[in-house]
Symmetry: none
Subunit: 266 residues, 2 copies
Amino acid sequence: MHPGELDGKWYAKYWNPVMAPMPEHIKEAIGLGPQPPPLCLSPDDAATLSDTGYGEFENGYSLFSDGSAHIATLTLMPRVSPAMVDWWFWWHAMETERYKLWYPRAHLYAEWSGGTVDRSAPHRDRYIGGTSFVDEYVGSSLGELAIQFVHPDKLGFSDNSADPDEATAICATVGLSRVPLDWGHLVHHVRRVKGGAEMRSRFWMGGKYVAPRAGATLTDELETVAEGLRRLGDGHARAMVVHCSQEMNHLAAFLPDIFDEFQRSE
Amino acid sequence: MHPGELDGKWYAKYWNPVMAPMPEHIKEAIGLGPQPPPLCLSPDDAATLSDTGYGEFENGYSLFSDGSAHIATLTLMPRVSPAMVDWWFWWHAMETERYKLWYPRAHLYAEWSGGTVDRSAPHRDRYIGGTSFVDEYVGSSLGELAIQFVHPDKLGFSDNSADPDEATAICATVGLSRVPLDWGHLVHHVRRVKGGAEMRSRFWMGGKYVAPRAGATLTDELETVAEGLRRLGDGHARAMVVHCSQEMNHLAAFLPDIFDEFQRSE
């Protein structure tokens, strides 16, 4: 949260604590409040994000009767390419200071585990299979999270072998970092549009998406934590819309330049 | 709430039931929802409001894990001087009808106790040490409050002996008026800017700030009331941002004229 922490980093100049105002379409969506669940994309249909055009529900949130929430945000990213976003999801996760560039007011800590260390691999192959442990505020609540990147085919995408400069889908299972509990799933689908890219983010969290992490047993202690994660209220869902929109808009503002400088120095 | 109540008062013409629209920066802050606690000014650092420039968190609210909330609002006050605000905090508190000018839709009642009665004392010295008992709506909730003005040095300010036309800090402990319970603290720091003044308001309420008033014992009955005050939710914090912004913007619109007329008649 302090600029001094970046002293000596070549990318220090990209740290900007001033967040851009929220886009009008996000303000509008938040003003509308919770929306009908049938409008929402289900995780089983996530891959339809690759289809041309837009879905019924591109911005806002919905609260389901099982306590889960669906969150959708559209971020316009002028001058950005899908390949830059793939680069970012690999590059930022390696170092707390990089992670802080993304959302200076809310991002506290990042640590990486797993994935490939093959520096000749395409960027997307470097984060798939790895886990980003992060501490970040969502609203006023501190989340200590394990973002486990998965191959897009796990959410049904078949086109990630296509030109990464045309589209990419960043997919992850989101869990807690201190206990082996998963909370839900996310996808950031990024595609080329005139003058840059657009990112369509989707989250499915809480309710039936809460599960012990592969191999873990749901002890009584873990069940108590799980119970707290299952019921996502209006405040939490709204905070996630705001958080996602804020960080992605902030990223879009410096990504083309930091990516360009990174490439020139490699 | 009725204009007729002001019949015969020389200041009746300043009663205006139409509130100005909320400033864009307040709408934006409310749209963002609760913010990360580490961004907030702590009461121990309140005096840094005297520093040049702005802090990380000038507008909005944050919810802390102990149930307390921090509220921050910036109000632009063209044509206003810090000395006028000092005058207002003394003058308005003496009479319900004056208090109603401030926020016709929400202010119901005001009664004054203590402070100095020396009419030759500077205005700020007349309200410091006194208590303003007020009934007012914050959102849909009626608050029956005891605003106990304290010397700014209690919050660490050392510069209130400086020119009152350059800056002033109005500091108070806020409690309930019917039971001896304090709820939190506030400061309105006002400084000269080009063309007028700006007011930076800060509230720390609920949670650890709830305490029996000097000398009072925390009986079981009082503890029940305290328990209710400790946990401030999203709705209450948001209502306080709106309330403070509304009343201070409304005040700014008539303060230069009413102060001028008051001075000419003295």
